[in-house]
Symmetry: C2
Subunit: 245 residues, 2 copies
């Protein structure tokens, strides 16, 4: 059951989740904490009214410190901020690792199966686990998630500040709900969008095309993207704007 939505404005904002109409008998409240495609982020978690919060954090995992005690289950594909695609990391409150799951839940997908076997019930994606371990060490050496948050805010600000003063490019997300990781933007013309993507690609800025379901442009600026990369993109956008006025 959907208790909140921003479908009315193409998911360009996070609905007010301070007083939702959540059924008493709901098993949990689910959010996608950072929407990779639309570039929104829950900067305030929903008031779940006592229900457990389950959050897909695939595209914001390790981008900032998280108070895990506010969640029942946190899970995310590692392929954005952590390591090579093909693995999911889950952080689950102990009492939710249970035997009384739905009878048709496949053995491999039961949290209890994985927990009881040290996440080694089957032969796992060893290489991805190893690479994630290297990333964890790198993160710690950089100053941990506090430092990552600082860097990510600085990085995102460069791009959002440019978008906010540009006469050609516009961010698509309400300011207070903007993601630090995924920055969608558009011009007022499909033709200009296409020309920008083509010229940017030629200049070495790849994967700027928005997700196929929404179009426009999107810059994904995960932990691995250095500040310099974003500054170069903004410089390129400013030049493009000047040359296509």
């Amino acid at each position: 059951m959907r208790v909140a939505s921003s479908a009315d404005k193409t998911f360009s904002y996070i609905p007010d989740c301070s007083d939702l109409d959540i059924p008493e008998d709901a098993d949990y409240v689910y959010i996608c904490e950072n929407n990779t495609i639309y570039g929104t982020k829950f900067h305030t978690l929903p008031n779940t009214k006592g229900h457990d919060l389950v959050a897909d954090v695939s595209s914001c995992f390790l981008s900032e410190p998280v108070d895990v005690s506010k969640y029942g289950i946190i899970y995310g594909g590692v392929q954005k901020n952590v390591g090579p695609a093909g693995m999911v990391i889950s952080i689950i409150r102990e009492d939710l690792i249970r035997d009384d799951v739905m009878p048709f839940c496949p053995t491999m997908l039961k949290f209890k199966t994985q927990a009881d076997n040290g996440s080694l019930y089957n032969t796992p994606n060893c290489w991805s686990i190893y690479m994630c371990g290297l990333v964890f060490k790198w993160l710690k050496a950089q100053g941990g998630l506090t430092e990552m948050k600082k860097r990510n805010e600085e990085k995102a600000a460069i791009l959002y500040d440019y978008l906010d003063q540009s006469a050609m490019f516009h961010g698509t997300v309400r300011k207070e709900d903007r993601s630090l990781m995924n920055v969608p933007f558009i011009t007022d013309s499909e033709e200009l969008n296409a020309r920008f993507i083509a010229e940017a690609t030629k200049a070495g800025f790849v994967s700027l095309k928005g997700h196929r379901t929404v179009g426009g442009m999107r810059a994904s600026i995960y932990n691995a993207m250095p500040k310099e990369g974003i500054q170069k993109l903004v410089d390129f956008m400013a030049d493009f704007e000047k040359n296509n006025r």
Copy 2:
């Protein structure tokens, strides 16, 4: 429902599957074609009496040519003969890629979901796919599966021939059901088994300990193991036998 078993002799042989009592309304007949732990192999496929055959081929995939038309579904984890752990390859007869699956089948686990999306419904294990691709090219350059079968037969014969004449070491599987990939063997004494594993490990022969559920020794001689590796193991075993007579 189990229609054949070799549990009576610790799974050391393949039961006669030429005339099984298969219920008329069975959905399929399932086999694990090569048993990694017990070292058995179906050298003749069961007579399924018109039912579709579903085979887990994890530990024999790409070890020899296969007539895929004899199966409904072939599947296997790639981590033994194909590529890095964390992926499964499935070969499915077109008419079995269906919509009318059990209603509680997770979307991600439906063959139709994967088939309709070119196996890219989600972000997959890209690195493993890439590495498997390299292995496929390597296999073709070696002469394909016909050549692999020839090599694997030669390789296994070196080890089985030694076991068959040894007074100390014995293969545990009935001759006609032996696997070309996994060769379990024992001595008549647990103490001797332990000493052999310890000395072999010291000499650089790793992972010779049998699966924790069965004990003894096991040599896994997948495609990646060269003939020379097996000859060296046999030489070491012969020396050990001489020195511990």
